[in-house]
């Protein structure tokens, strides 16, 4: 019983009490709030006459609905329904005393980008948000997961959640990644290997040399898509990269308190001999740039692959899923992925909109032009601060010179709640996280790729192995 997994340590440190059925009251250190999943929670508080338990534990930002075009930012949100929802977040935060980075604040951005950027995300903490991609923050050795609106209200009112412990899975990505292969390719390959329900009921810890070698931003990309593997939370052990990232962040501790925190954070690793319920190994060297071909993130293959044939699938439920997907995606069995032409390109989302993503994308875009068949190529930075940093490095100039549009921060075409979307039948190379039917617009066809692969598709007009450009 001496050896604990990282998950066990985080869980044990946050249990307020356990009832006779084994259900725990778990303390929540931090809550991130956005405009889409919070209005009904604030309304619930108001109707019950309740106040937030600990106001300073919350940080709010509008991201899903905000326009990314500068003109619409200036004139106000055109969609009246979206405008009301974004305004409601402002009113709710003001009346309950919660800090909000509103549109126009340089710190505004995608909730899962600004949390780490501001140092609101702390190693060793429990973090929730009414958004499934809260798993992102697990990159810091924090237990972070998405919740529904009822639970957003529950956390606001009590600073706790009613939880049962999860099973634990270790996914070890061993060895070294090849050149031109990224964190996004790792996580897509993992989802391809274990499936979109592979992690259901588990918290996944990512380990192995290839994960340790990733930057904090790469680790966030991996943890971000843990939910696409079915697990609510992903975790990566704290190391010196984690500590270095935290140092100097606006909301992180300072001085002596930082050093005290850092000493504690360094213990946030799974002990040698800790037992996981399931262990999966992947060989990093065998991972090639990935492209999804279907309507579930598990429908993914290396770029040199071919669209699968449902007739070759023995399981009738899976065969039906492949047939549905090919029909929706307008693809035929056996088609090489590298021959699929693209209409639009989206670089952004909580998966891939941080500065390193934009640098990787700009490195491919530099000196090249977006292909004539591409109707729209968007770059949407994850936050106002990412945007400012990219502009200071001249990345915006590289993108616009190549024919990309350079936008204001927000979720944008990842889920297309704002004006950025696909029309029916349009095909998109997207750095986002979900290729579900209609995700980027009704009838739109999404292929998930890394930022470098998205730019490669933009400049050639079709999917291509970025390593061969």
């Amino acid at each position: 019983m001496g050896s604990k997994t990282l998950y066990d340590k985080l869980w044990d440190a946050h249990v307020v009490r356990v009832d006779e059925t084994g259900t725990a009251l778990l303390y929540i250190d931090r809550q991130l709030i956005h405009e889409v999943t919070s209005p009904q929670a604030f309304e619930g508080l108001r109707l019950a006459g309740r106040q937030p338990w600990r106001t300073s534990a919350n940080l709010a930002v509008p991201d899903h609905n905000v326009p990314t075009a500068q003109s619409e930012r200036a004139s106000g949100i055109a969609d009246p329904v979206a405008r009301i929802q974004v305004a409601a977040l402002g009113t709710n935060c003001a009346s309950f005393g919660i800090t909000e980075f509103a549109m126009g604040d340089v710190r505004q951005g995608i909730v899962h980008v600004i949390g780490p950027e501001q140092g609101f995300t702390l190693p060793g903490s429990t973090i929730v948000c009414g958004d499934s991609h809260t798993s992102t923050h697990g990159a810091f050795g924090a237990l972070a997961f998405g919740i529904g609106t009822s639970e957003v209200e529950h956390v606001l009112a009590t600073q706790c959640l009613i939880q049962r412990p999860s099973k634990t899975m270790l996914i070890s990505v061993d060895g070294e990644l090849g050149a031109g292969v990224t964190a996004k390719d790792i996580v897509l390959a993992i989802i391809g290997a274990i499936g979109t329900a592979g992690g259901t009921g588990y918290v996944i810890e990512f380990g192995g040399a290839a994960i340790q070698a990733l930057s904090m931003e790469g680790r966030m990309t991996v943890c971000n898509m843990t939910i696409e593997a079915g697990a609510r939370a992903g975790l990566i052990a704290v190391d010196e990269k984690t500590i270095d990232y935290m140092r100097g962040r606006p909301l992180a501790p300072t001085g002596e308190l930082f050093e005290q925190a850092a000493a504690s954070w360094r213990t946030l690793v799974s002990d040698a001999g800790a037992v996981f319920d399931r262990v999966v190994h992947l060989d990093a060297a065998s991972i090639a740039p990935q492209v999804t071909w279907g309507t579930s993130p598990e429908m993914v293959l290396p770029i040199d692959g071919q669209v699968p044939d449902p007739a070759a699938e023995a399981d009738p439920v899976k065969a039906a899923s492949i047939r549905n997907a090919l029909n929706y995606m307008g693809l035929t069995a056996g088609q090489p992925l590298a021959e699929i032409a693209v209409d639009k390109v989206f670089i952004g989302s909580c998966t891939n909109s941080r500065i390193e993503d934009l640098r990787a994308a700009a490195a491919v875009a530099a000196g090249r032009k977006v292909s004539k068949n591409i109707k729209l190529a968007l770059v949407v930075p994850g936050s106002g601060l990412v945007k400012a940093q990219a502009e200071a490095e001249g990345l915006d100039q590289i993108f616009t010179a190549a024919g990309f549009e350079w936008r204001e921060p927000g979720c944008s075409m990842c889920l297309a709640m704002n004006a950025d979307r696909l029309e029916a039948g349009e095909r998109c190379a997207s750095t986002s996280n979900r290729n579900f039917e209609g995700r980027q617009g009704q009838g739109g066809r999404t292929h998930l790729v890394s930022p470098a692969m998205a730019v490669a598709a933009a400049v050639t007009g079709h999917f291509v192995d970025v390593r061969t450009l």
């Binding site: 440190a13 307020v16 009490r17 059925t21 259900t23 009251l25 303390y27 250190d29 889409v36 999943t37 209005p39 009904q40 309304e43 309740r50 899903h64 969609d79 329904v81 009301i84 929802q85 409601a88 702390l122 060793g124 009414g130 499934s132 997961f145 998405g146 529904g148 009822s150 639970e151 529950h154 009112a157 009590t158 600073q159 706790c160 009613i162 049962r164 979109t196 329900a197 259901t200 009921g201 079915g230 697990a231 609510r232 992180a252 308190l257 930082f258 925190a261 504690s264 579930s296 439920v317 899976k318 039906a320 899923s321 889920l415 709640m417 979900r434 579900f436 039917e437 209609g438 009704q442």
Partner: protein, 212 residues
């Protein structure tokens, strides 16, 4: 929340795996700041032939006759039958809100996504996980000419088919109690306020940086 009452209802077979919450309720309807009124837009992109927007009068919209919920036999269905990984993707609680508003009270599937599964219990919906083979049998029975009717007994954790066959099911004891009694989670947790304050006092000593 209304207490969950035993009932007998018609089963609508929706034969797909990995039904995600974007499919259950598309993003444009998430702009609402209300908790109600999502039922007409449930499965909007599969159910209608046109593009749906909030506040549309759905009674005037062209229906996709091939979609199972548009079959008059299933218009009053209260039990949804689906394949594995139901409710994957986004954490949007609008998905169970839409299912409940349509009239669904039980969902049967071989597996559910965690966040959706949890959200169901907050909204009076009972998600029941059954063996894949058994789900296959139920699909056969539910796809006959006469719709399948199942009686749901939550206290006894028992499903009774209209042919008399019975299927026991498991449910977490806490979730079961919450559904049956229609309990307010927040009110219950606030009864532990002293324990929460004690925890905070302890943690402020152990990890003061969390409270800066």
């Amino acid at each position: 929340m209304e207490p969950f009452q035993n009932f007998s209802g018609i089963v609508a077979p929706l034969d797909r795996a990995n039904i995600d919450t974007d499919a259950i309720i598309p993003k444009q309807f998430l702009k609402s700041i209300k908790r109600s009124g999502f039922g007409p837009y449930l499965f909007d992109e599969w159910r209608y032939l046109d593009h749906g927007e909030p506040d549309m009068d759905c009674s005037q919209r062209p229906l996709n006759s091939e979609f199972i919920l548009n079959d008059p036999r299933f218009s009053a269905a209260q039990i949804l039958l689906a394949r594995e990984n139901f409710g994957c993707g986004s954490s949007r609680e609008h998905a169970p809100w839409a299912l409940a508003d349509f009239g669904f009270r039980v969902i049967l599937a071989p597996s559910f996504a965690d966040i959706f599964f949890n959200n169901c219990f907050k909204n009076g919906i009972l998600p029941i996980q059954l063996e894949s083979d058994l789900i296959g049998v139920l699909f056969e029975k539910a796809s006959g000419v006469a719709p399948l009717r199942i009686s749901v007994d939550l206290p006894a954790q028992l499903l009774t088919l209209d042919d008399g066959n019975q299927i026991p099911f498991t449910v977490d004891v806490g979730n079961k109690q919450r559904l049956i009694e229609g309990l307010d989670d927040i009110g219950l947790t606030l009864q532990q306020a002293d324990a929460i304050r004690e925890y905070e006092a302890r943690r402020k000593v152990e990890a003061p940086w969390v409270f800066v």
